[in-house]
Amino acid sequence: MAEPAIRLTSVSKRFGGVQALDSVDFAVDAGEVHCLAGENGCGKSTIIKIVTGVYQPDPGARIELFGEVVEKVTPQEARARGIAVIWQDLALFPEMTVAENIAFETMLGNRPRRVSYPAMRKRAVAALARLDVDLDLDARLNTLPIAQRQVVAIARALVSDARLIFMDEPTASLTQSETDALLDVVRKLSARGVAVVFVSHRLAEVLDISSRVTVFRDGRLVGVYPTEGMTQGRLTELMTGKHFETTVAARDVTGPPVLEVQGLTRQGEYADVSFTLHAGEVLGLTGLIGAGRSELGHTLFGMSRADAGQVLLDGKPVRFPSNRAAVDAGIAYVSEDRLSLGLIQPQSIADNTVMAVLKRITSGGLISPAKKAALVDHWIRELAVKIGEPTDAVSTLSGGNQQRVVLAKWLATEPRVLILDSPTVGVDVGARAGIFRIVRQLAETGLAILLISDEATEVLANADRVLHMAGGRILGEYDPRETTLQGLEAAIYA
């Protein structure tokens, strides 16, 4: 039995009326890679903030750091004891060099002192050597890709002698090869006795890297499990507390082809992609992040141009100079980034709904308030969006309802083809079912739907056919009725 790096007992935290943490225990062993799993709002970030001294727990908690009981953890105390966090935004200085970013903390102190660049370089070199990584010390941080910036953040933690590093969604914006490289670094850290707590919603990754997983749900501890023998499905059940029957919605689609993609290639993004999407069909497109799925979606939506190949819409070749042209031709695209690209958060529900169909609510050159209200009303009812007033800001809605507003915006354009890029990101599991009910109904009206998702369960349950994409190419096609989750996942993570 390894000795514990940290051990927290009966930690509670209340914010106003919200019980963020309810008497949870959490322990990490020295040198262990441990995963912290749970849905949004389950208390994951709250516990990180308590360990690192950002928040103080409610009375009754006991915090033991590296064998010593600590009465009050302050951010300075946590750092001095070797606890570091790498937040999603990394908190680095984009205008400074790699060496400065790694070693600047060693130059801070209570007394003013001269900054010694040679000493900083030496420290930085040592930290990078421990990770077996080669980086240009003089490169400005903002010239590096995200993956390398992450390495810089890790190296910085090592400089301040971290023995436990929290990583908050470290792979969220990485490609597959970058993710692999990062996981490699994590393994090296672990081999050197540094414990790593991994927070990630990519379950496959979680199971791959960590030895144990702690699951939180609604601020409570569900349990601590070894990852050996744990499946993604089981982990989802633990996180959501619901049993998900894997029903398969797939049927045979007999509609005519609507969108035909032939040999589509864009340098560095995807190559030789061909498929046919029929009217009334839900075509799943899955694969790991970095497989080129979203990039393909962007081209189909006119946001980027292919280098080779062609796209036929209703049998006629099309080439869109802009996404407006794609919208006018009947293509709609629900972005994976609902928060910053799918909706304009501070603006009203009504304005967001009509944004793509302004022409349709204009008469005599002026926007008709009556036509606008009627259109908004129609779609809010049609998609059963739960709202207060149409004039409320869209940011006041829950994730699921926001996604319905995005759908309303695009359905108002009366599209022939609907591209859904990861439509359930940040949507609660319960609300996801509602979204997919709508998707299925839309397909039944003859809409052709391309469902892009990195969750194998999602495409298997909801698509009529599934395409697997990796490294920019389509590697295989699956019939959900004849494919098991294990089979598809084996292909994806091969």
């Binding site: 106003g16 946001m303 802009s322 996404n323 407006r324 794609a326 919208v327 695209y333 972005s335 910053s340 690209l341 799918g342 909706l343 304009i344 958060q345 501070p346 603006q347 304005d351 944004m355 793509a356 302004l358 022409k359 204009t362 050159g365 002026l366 926007i367 004039t391 915006k409």
Partner: protein, 325 residues
Amino acid sequence: MTRLRNALGGEVLGLIGFLILVVILFGLTAPRFLTAANFGSIAFQLPELGLLTLAMLIPIISGGLNLAIVFTANIAGLTLAWVLNTHGGVDAGFEWFVVGSLGALIVGALAGMVMGLVIAYTGAHPILVSLAMMIFLRGLGEFLTKGGDISGFPDYLRPLGHGLILGIPVPLILFAVAAFVWHILLTRTRHGFAATMIGSNIRAAAYSGIHTKRTLTLIYTLSGLMCAVAGILMVARFNSVRVGHGEALLLVTVLACFLGGVDPFGGFGRVVPVVIALIVLQALSSGLNLLGANQHLSTAVWGLFLIGVMVLRWVAAQIPKRRKG
């Protein structure tokens, strides 16, 4: 009451409250404040600042700024003056006023369009682009006029700057028309809608199929056009053109926009509260003037007033929160 609040916007009610307060305060302390003559002078002074504020409003709503408004107006005025002067000066025919005004509008729109194109296609920051344009126009204007005044215009210009129609000052009518057009533009046209959405989140607007580049170009073109209208009015009112005239108004237009509840980060703003804010500012300065206060003191009071309004807005925003909590 809540419905009325929603229809008018809390902003408008608050500003009207301020206006009433200002009128009562000066009505009691400055004996000549509540006279037709004083309101007349306010009505004649307001439009110049008002038109420039409208020119500033749309760029701010779109998340930018146009620092070149005053010099755009000057250059436009200069165009009109040049046309009149080369065709007889005081004796220039009315047709030359029409030609000159068209020329002024084109010059103004062109200056705006150049800024819009640069902002839209290079992604340069509007503050930098319009600052560069401001310096360019100022230098150009001073070079052309050698830093002096151009004056001597036909008599028929006088009514435009000083005349009354049905007892209402002509400049005020011009401003009212311009404000109405701007109001319709922002609330009822696709372009105004797009400008507002761009101000909140330009990338999301682009994803929704809004032509962001075209919209940005048009925003600054319209801003330049409105500057030209102000420039023409200034020619008529002062019977002379000098580059740099009205320079002090630049920051006042920004102030009027913010006072009128326009979001400094873009995405929100309406014409009506901005017009009321303009009236409040003008009434303040006129009242202080009547009390015999120094011109500079009235500028200081404007500044204090804006600070006060921001604090009050913060207080007002706290009240509903506390009630809920």
